[in-house]
Amino acid sequence: MAARKPSTRTASSKAKAPTNKDFTQEQDMSAYEDMLLIRRFEEKAGQLYGMGLIGGFCHLYIGQEAVVTGMQMCIREGEDQLLTSYRDHGHMLACGMDPKGVMAELTGRKGGLSKGKGGSMHMFSREKQFFGGHGIVGAQVPIGAGLAFANKYRGNDKVSLTYFGDGASNQGQVYESFNMASLWKLPVIFIVENNQYAMGTSVSRSSAQTDFAQRGAAFSIPGVKVDGMDVREVYAAGQDAVEHCRSGKGPIILEMNTYRYRGHSMSDPAKYRSKDEVQKMRSDHDPIEQVKQRILDKGWSDEEALKAIDKNVRETVKQAADFATNDPEPDVSELYTDILV
């Protein structure tokens, strides 16, 4: 990867658009595999849900894989923090949490990452610095600012990646967080995963100002619009943003324009958008197909080798599903543990 020019961004709310650089072979290959793992994992989760093995809510990340994959390439894994909403399986896989533990949490088993007590929306990893998994829309945003506050308090240069959606962007606490983050120059990247729908309400029906990159303007927070279906663009914008935070310039907003193929949750009637719209995104903008095509065009790999990667990923997912369906439920004695220490 060629060295990027240092950012010349100022406190203006208009930040420069990310410059899209080609990936190296290694970057494209790893992005392909990382995104494929999320895609196959989520498909399997959907299947297990359909079989009644996963209960409650189950929000799939299919279509949005490039966002977390690209951002994860920009940070120091295990040091920089990340947290997100309830649509969180992709983030957990991207930061290296064990697919078996994630899937077993979805099925509510003993070996789940939260011992089966949290479920799909509530998983955490101190080791990977993943701070959830939050079920209340927007609540992760001030918490993410608080992680950044701790970094600044301790005088380290860690960055907090705080993900939320276009829907959460209309919660008041998001702006309370913007204000404090800018006032105190907290190292937090606010990543708006704009998948165009807040549950079943489109952005244009829910938001008076649909330019989410500009939502920080009133707080002097710069914002960048990013094609969240192109992992290279996510990476380029992410690198600039991480540099911005590490150098003490305070928060920055990245609006990732992306798309969710599946429903909001499993029981989504999909009456609020057309099949053509979904199909068009899948066929023209799929984040994984884009990378695959590049890999083939550049001759970095061939169909057969990519199939082998797919097979490996499927095997990982199969093992996760097998574990998650055979692992026992938590011991009943766990009912009263982990409340206080």
């Binding site: 498909e43 399997k44 959907g46 299947q47 849900y49 359909g50 079989m51 009644g52 093995l53 209960g55 299919i62 990452l113 939260s114 011992k115 007590k117 949290g118 509530h122 955490f124 101190r126 701070f131 959830g132 939050h134 079920g135 209340i136 609540a139 945003v141 001030p142 918490i143 600012a145 608080g146 992680l147 506050f149 701790a150 308090y153 008041g172 606490q173 309370e176 967080s177 404090m180 429903g263 499993m266 029981s267 989504d268 009637p269 999909a270 097979k311 499927r314 199969k318 599903a321 369906t325 026992p328 439920e329 011991d331 009943v332 004695s333 009263y336 982990d338 409340i339 206080l340 220490v341």
Partner: protein, 454 residues
Amino acid sequence: MTIEILMPALSPTMEEGTLAKWLVKEGDEVQPGDVIAEIETDKATMEVEAVDEGAIGKIIIAEGSENVKVNTVIAILAGEGEDVSSTGISPLPTETFESETPGTASLPAEPIMVEVASDPDIPEGTEMVSTTVRDALRDAMAEEMRRDDDVFVMGEEVAEYQGAYKVTQGLLDEFSSRRVIDTPITEHGFAGLGVGAAFAGLKPIVEFMTFNFAMQAVDHIINSAAKTRYMSGGQMGCPIVFRGPNGAASRVAAQHSQCYAVWYSHIPGLKVVMPYTAADAKGLLKAAIRDPNPVIFLENEVIYGKSFDVPKLDDFVLPIGKARIHKAGVDVTIVSFGIGMKYAIEASEILTNVGIDAEVIDLRTIRPMDLDTVISSVQKTGRLVTVEEGFPQSSVGSYIASEVSKRAFDYLDAPVITLCGKDVPMPYAANLEKLALVTTDEVVEAVKTVTYMK
């Protein structure tokens, strides 16, 4: 190898549905994510996507079939060489998991009882210093901040203004603006930010100017701070103190006059402390700051300026979860906490003059509640009056009464009386406000009632 495609559930409650339409036919090749069928319930229509790659071998349930049970095999996917051979998981019947096989459990699920230590002994000859509750709280914070750099205090007007009620007076000078942080007026935001800082390992003291304003932040106190340890299977903790004045002040009307003790006491994952004396305020706030759990620390504006003896010790820490017998007695048990203790103590002094020797218990901690001390006392006196300023329905007193009736019913010589504030929003007019609050006279009358003196 072949893979069975099953009738999926759209929700955990769905048991059957209509297979409305097949979008593929036998022999078609499918890729993961391809829509292969549509199913309907009374609530919604859903697309069924292929999870595995392969060719549709056989369609077993014809389109238009109604009442197809979840997990029925609806089609067979024919394997396509090695790629498919590793894809399918063996579909397990749902019944296996609905039949509640409780794993390897051997122990019944029971609440975990934690033994709480008693108050530390105060060494003979320890100097007692008359201290206001306000200064005791400040001293507790200052001592803990000197001891641990991870402790900081944030809230509205805590720094340059020196605290809206002067509880943080002097802290900015000693600890600088890094650790004594004025926030914007943004309770929801700074409560959440404090929780994030605590997740990262800091030990925030979040001051609410009054607990009335914490209503704006209650989601973070309960959903983020209290529940995360459980939801993370014990991985995450939230060592945070939310503190500030609670309950009625004077002539500030309904929105600024409410006791939240019972609200927070409802929540597993929280500790709730509400001291009366300056010594308890100091010792318990120090304990709260050191506690690895989220602690709600309820103070009272009316008693900030009241002085009590505080032992002059280098490190005076009291146990959270232990009641204090303020005055021993044999005729009746009066249980209270916070400002309610003022009325309880005044009443016990009046009652002494009419020959009633009341035992007065200061709960100090509302959750976890030291019921053992209350029960032991009731077993001795046979009579119980509880005193608090909060509203009557689902009050702290009503919980105590129900526990006492379970554990000491045979010892009771009279029905328990639970004195509370009146069941009205706090009025502004001086005369009405007085009527709305619990009074010393009411405590005296209640004790006379349970001792059959009237």
